[in-house]
């Protein structure tokens, strides 16, 4: 493979509890216009964007074929458009494939999710389960996560206090991230006294309801200079799907995440992730997932999560300096938020949380109950 691919531009609105004043189309337009302004890219059939990849979810949009409703506002009229109905990091993987294959020079990736539109996020994720068994028994992403959290705590000795520390740190980092959701700062005690939602997950361990939209312009390296003087290369992508039925899965094995990482690391030439990755952004919808997914990426060992945390691993490896998904990004867009932050850091625009000498970053996304699907992206300066 002789081609390389870069992100040339990214545009996002602020993560907010409820963007009640706009339709989801209105959320995307601001991102679309910003990408156009930043890059002067066109939709010319020879030199411009011929294909758009979108990410959205039918149930959260309450509209079947949810992408059809947004083509007007992402420039897709009379162009190709494909939707990823999975964590948006797969949309970036898809866009990479389009460019690396030589099929396209430029791909626009646009994602949106408006969690506040639904009466209940749990009612939406309950619909991810089969209608005969798991759905009537009440499974949703939250209580499925609680099963995984319990198993992980049993295996590793992770405590309620560890979880509280993750939340407190997330809020601090979120407050230093420009487009992160504005949240109250919390003390360890406040987190530990917050009510249980599904034992062992407390209210403050769970990411808050959030609305957000984001866009990326990806381009082959040889043309990146047309659109930016500060491109960030995408050098690895890997994804893996585990069993759908929760009972078939070893919940704390990180099977799919390890496979996804192995594929991405091989593509990017990474042999020792703990040493080579300068920034790690994990989609931690619930607090316990930060150390669990960290194990899956190989920056710490199996069942080493709590000890790694106690040794300052989260800060040493620059994990979720953005505040992570825990600070608030909508479902489907966790991975895109991670990639957006990795891009910002690698461009040197992360403000007070800027990491110096940054070369390689990992962005992670996950879809489905308790991490059925995982995908990771390697970004490089």
């Amino acid at each position: 493979m002789t081609r390389n691919v870069s992100i040339c531009a990214m545009a996002q609105i602020k993560n907010q509890p409820a963007i009640w004043q706009h339709r989801f189309q209105g959320m995307l337009i601001d991102c679309f216009e910003s990408i156009m302004e930043q890059t002067n890219v066109t939709f010319d059939m020879d030199k411009g964007i011929r294909n758009v990849v979108t990410c959205s979810d039918d149930v959260f949009d309450a509209r079947t074929i949810s992408d059809a409703a947004v083509t007007d506002v992402v420039g897709a009229h009379f162009r190709g458009e494909e939707k990823v109905a999975q964590d948006g990091i797969s949309a970036l993987g898809y866009a990479m494939a389009c460019i690396l294959s030589g099929h396209d020079d430029l791909i626009l990736v646009m994602g949106h999710c408006k969690e506040s539109q639904s009466e209940s996020r749990n009612m939406c994720t309950n619909l991810a389960f089969d209608p005969f068994y798991s759905r009537p028994l009440g499974l949703d992403y939250l209580n499925a996560a609680a099963l995984q959290a319990r198993a992980y705590m049993e295996e590793t000795g992770l405590t309620d206090e560890h979880l509280a520390n993750i939340v407190v740190r997330s809020r601090k980092n979120g407050a230093r991230t420009r487009h992160a959701r504005d949240n109250e700062q919390l003390s360890v005690r406040e987190v530990m006294e917050s009510p249980l939602l599904a034992d062992p997950i407390r209210k403050m361990h769970n990411y808050p309801v959030t609305d957000w939209a984001v866009g990326f312009l990806l381009c082959c390296d040889e043309r990146a200079h047309e659109f930016t003087d500060n491109p960030v290369r995408l050098t690895g992508f890997g994804s893996c799907m585990d069993s759908y039925f929760l009972g078939d899965r070893e919940l704390v094995s990180n099977f799919a995440l390890k496979k996804a990482c192995a594929r991405a690391y091989a593509m990017a030439g990474i042999t020792d992730p703990a040493k080579e990755l300068d920034l790690v952004e994990l989609s931690d919808a619930c607090a316990y997932q930060l150390p669990l997914w960290a194990e899956g990426t190989g920056i710490t060992g199996k069942a080493r999560g709590p000890a790694w945390m106690e040794a300052g691993g989260m800060d040493k490896h620059h994990v979720n300096l953005s505040g992570g998904m825990l600070n608030g990004n909508p479902l489907m867009l966790g991975g895109l938020a991670r990639a957006a932050y990795g891009f910002t850091q690698l461009q040197g625009k992360a403000g007070t949380n800027q990491v110096t000498g940054l070369r390689k970053a990992l962005a992670h996304g996950t879809t489905g109950a308790a991490g059925q699907h995982h995908a990771v992206l390697i970004l490089e300066k």
Binding site: I19, W20, Q21, H22, R23, Q25, G26, I29, E33, M36, F43, V59, A62, T71, D72, V73, G75, H77, F78, K114, S116, Q117, S118, E119, S120, M123, C124, L127, P131, F132
Partner: protein
């Protein structure tokens, strides 16, 4: 030589003759709050005052009603508003013989009904406004046809407004033949 491909259906109905197959009936329902946003919101609010608004593309000038945030063709944000109609010319109609009941309420409309495209005054070409025709007028309306130089004028129509208007598309009950234009 082409080989015929036969896919065997392992669980054909024959092999399941002795088994009771259960089908579960469920209603999927999650309450939603749909934001109208400033563009659709302005259109719906105007209906309360018996006004029909369109939004105009700053580049190609085409009118959109119901209005959308962007002109998909020119890829620019629409900004200018124009009041159109409320009277216009019948352009096309579909006779619909089935009603789609609301799965939650079971409510359905009378059939057949006429789904119509009206060229409201102030609009041109494809800028037709979709709504419903007064059922009693189904057999009385004439469609307008534009095929090259061949132009046939359709019936003149006017909206019938609901007495109680809340800012929804139902604020127009339907369109009916405009007797004043005869």
């Amino acid at each position: 030589m082409e080989e015929e491909m036969n896919v065997k259906v392992s669980d054909s109905l024959d092999t399941m003759a002795d088994q009771e197959l259960i089908v579960l009936r469920k209603t999927i329902s999650v309450d939603q709050k749909f934001a109208t946003g400033p563009v659709m919101g302005k259109f719906l609010t105007a209906l309360k005052d018996k006004r029909i608004l369109a939004i105009q593309c700053p580049e190609c000038g085409r009118l959109q009603s119901p209005p959308r945030e962007m002109c998909a063709i020119c890829r620019v944000r629409n900004r200018e508003w124009v009041e159109i109609g409320p009277r216009g010319e019948m352009r096309m109609m579909e006779y619909c013989y089935y009603s789609s009941p609301d799965p939650l309420t079971g409510e359905s409309r009378e059939t057949p009904y006429g789904a119509i495209g009206i060229l409201l005054d102030g609009c041109q070409k494809e800028e037709v406004f979709w709504h419903l025709l007064r059922p009693e007028h189904l057999e009385m309306v004439e469609m307008g046809i534009v095929m090259g130089d061949r132009i046939t004028r359709g019936s003149r129509l006017r909206p019938v407004w609901a007495e109680e208007r809340s800012g929804s598309i139902d604020d127009i009950k339907y369109f009916e033949i405009d007797e004043q234009a005869r």
